[in-house]
């Protein structure tokens, strides 16, 4: 992925400024409230699942295919992109599945994977909004 982080500082500052402006009635301002503990545990589980280069790449492949017409990705195609054994790929996919980042179903010989959009949305919202603990904000 192109992590073009230089030059995006201004954008972020702008976002932060807007998000913390009192006139922005996006949600109940809870600017200094910490993320609720239960919520934090769920989120941490998802981030932990993503905190591995192999899983992150698997996830990026699945997420991308979720956006295509097919809407999913066959495990047979995922394994072709990695120099890893089938069981190793399966192990990493299981962690992503248990964290709630992907879902799968078996059809015939193959298992097909899709990204769980709802949880991607939660992670994204968390990183976007100050006072992320606020419920029902996005």
């Amino acid at each position: 992925m192109d992590v073009n982080i230089d030059g995006m500082t201004a954008t972020l500052k702008q976002v932060r400024k807007q998000a913390s402006a009192p006139s922005e009635p996006c949600c109940e301002p809870v600017l200094s409230a910490p993320l609720e503990p239960d919520h934090a545990v769920d989120m941490a589980k998802m981030f932990k699942a993503m905190g591995d280069p192999i899983r992150l790449r698997l996830l990026s492949l699945i997420a991308a295919s979720s956006a295509t017409e097919a809407g999913e990705c066959c495990v047979c195609d995922l394994s072709g992109s990695f120099d890893l054994s089938g069981p190793t790929i399966s192990y990493h996919l299981k962690i992503l599945r248990e964290a709630g980042l992907v879902e799968s179903d078996r059809r015939g010989t193959w298992v097909y994977y899709r990204a769980v959009q709802e949880n991607f949305g939660r992670l994204s919202a968390m990183l976007a909004i100050p006072g992320v603990a606020s419920v029902g904000c996005s």
């Binding site: 992925m1 192109d2 992590v3 073009n4 982080i5 230089d6 995006m8 500082t9 954008t11 972020l12 500052k13 932060r16 913390s20 809870v30 600017l31 200094s32 409230a33 910490p34 993320l35 503990p37 934090a40 545990v41 989120m43 941490a44 981030f47 932990k48 993503m50 905190g51 591995d52 280069p53 192999i54 899983r55 992150l56 790449r57 996830l59 990026s60 492949l61 997420a63 991308a64 295919s65 295509t68 017409e69 097919a70 999913e72 990705c73 066959c74 047979c76 195609d77 072709g80 992109s81 991607f120 992670l123 994204s124 968390m126 990183l127 976007a128 100050p130 006072g131 992320v132 603990a133």
Partner: protein, 118 residues
């Protein structure tokens, strides 16, 4: 990314879909994945997520370490440890003024995380 001829012929659509990709919009290459995984690992802890949420949400843009201990209900050394992990990962910056250290979010680090879900 190599795709063998057989699977390309049998499953052109899926292979094509799988071969482009990313969590965001661009393909996630191996070096980027390694760099980002480190960042994700740093935030992958409930206490550290709570710390980030407090600091990122602070109107002043920074928070005194003295104000971080109580909301988390953890000991000061534990909080300091978590702050160090986040600082080492490039997500927080630390500035000492007088008795206390003040923490603020490093925009570049935060943006790298956000870009994953863009």
């Amino acid at each position: 990314m190599s795709v063998n001829a057989t699977s390309t012929r049998e499953l052109p659509v899926v292979v094509d879909g799988c071969a482009r990709v990313s969590v965001a919009a661009e393909p996630l290459d191996r070096p980027s994945a390694e760099r980002l995984a480190k960042l994700l690992k740093a935030v992958a802890d409930p206490a550290r997520l709570q710390l980030l949420s407090i600091i990122h949400g602070a109107v002043e843009g920074e928070v005194c370490v003295c104000d971080l201990v109580e909301p988390l209900g953890l000991s000061q050394p534990t909080v300091s440890h978590h702050l160090k992990v986040l600082t080492d990962a490039g997500l927080l910056s630390r500035e000492r003024r007088g008795t206390w250290a003040y923490f603020s979010v490093v925009p570049e680090g935060w943006q790298a995380l956000r870009a994953l879900f863009a």
